[in-house]
Assembly symmetry: C2
Homo-oligomer: 227 residues x 2
């Protein structure tokens, strides 16, 4: 019984890592689609999100089945419940990558990030990709130094997001209405993506260290656009 | 043992309803703050969100403790796990109400929704309030007719959101950059708020009927801004 339980816990961890890897691929491709106006890549991200959603459903069923059959307590119970939450957060990150891909697809054959916001949006997308890749590594290694690095990378993302509003709100920078809308929404999607990455990192740190003081998603994001 | 278990399940349901009621109050006040440029109301929403976050933490601990001590299976297990998910979704709705309040606070003493977008944004906020009030009622009554009504109200919200982009993207409608940014973000917050309401409604329907076919959040929202 105990051996099967350990195997199942291992499986849960492996599946979360696999899901995270798919999310990292999604945001990486969505970033490339933004950079190069690549319709095929954008479509791939959109299609692949169904598989990420399916993985979430599988993980949920695994987790619930494990709870029902094994009745874990203490740390094991928290790991299983956290697994359910992590899969929900990763699913949401996948959705956000898909939203970025929608913008690329919606502008095709034009470049989805033309004009003065191009550089900053591409930087944000690359930073989000970095966060996502590190989340996958963290799931694989449980190396807490990575958790700190994810927070630092998300700070860079938040800073870029604040800078984006300086450009967006500057009447002297010529932008079409569509460019303004895309810049505001892409900024929001990418910033949220990073916040979710931080939330995953904090939850894993909590599982490793037992400390949940910083678990709530990055409060800095909450006021970024309006203060 | 069984009596205590039933009481604890009841408590979980009551606490979710209480949390949902606080979220409904938050979005109702945020809506009023948008309409009347009321700084006090906006601050109340922002402050009250801490209590909503605290309720989520309490619900989590209750749920995990219940799983550990009672080891529920089958339907009971799914109810507890769903309770954890519902509290996370309600917490997110509270955050979105707070984001709306930030816009009102950020523009004070000016009206946060001046100009051509005023009518449509107020309509959206009222519609989001309606969704939230019905979610609370649904949690209280488990009346499945309400679940359908929540979906219908969210459709109205999505339709208003689409209309908002027609105005935002129309160069003939004069708007400042700040008004454009606020309109895009308020639209996004309110649309997401409604989607989460639908997600709560579907999860409750699932618990009542056992049918999870429609559980994934409203696919219509995914392409609204970019198609």
């Amino acid at each position: 019984m105990r051996v099967i339980f350990k195997q199942e816990m291992q499986q849960l961890g492996d599946d979360l890592t696999r899901m995270s890897r798919q999310v990292a691929t999604a945001i990486e491709r969505a970033t490339a689609a933004l950079e190069t106006a690549d319709l095929t890549l954008a479509e791939q991200v959109i299609d692949a999100d169904r598989r990420i959603d399916e993985l979430e459903r599988q993980l949920d069923e695994q987790g619930i089945s494990l709870l029902a059959r094994q009745g874990p307590v203490a740390t094991d119970l928290r790991i299983v419940v956290s697994g359910l939450r992590l899969s929900a957060t990763l699913e949401r990150m996948g959705d956000l990558a898909r939203h970025v891909a929608y913008v690329a697809r919606g502008r095709y054959p034009e470049n989805p990030t033309p004009g003065p916001m191009r550089e900053i949006l591409i930087k944000m997308a690359r930073q989000a990709t970095l966060v996502s890749q590190q989340v996958t590594q963290l799931l694989e290694t449980r190396d807490l130094a990575l958790a700190a690095s994810i927070e630092a990378d998300d700070d860079v993302l938040d800073q870029l997001h604040r800078e984006s509003f300086q450009v967006i709100l500057d009447d002297d920078v010529p932008m079409t209405r569509q460019q303004l809308v895309d810049a505001v929404l892409l900024g929001r999607y990418l910033e949220r993506f990073g916040d979710h990455g931080v939330s995953v990192a904090r939850r894993i740190s909590y599982l490793v260290t037992g400390d949940l003081t910083n678990e709530v998603v990055n409060p800095a994001e909450q006021e970024a656009h309006h203060d």
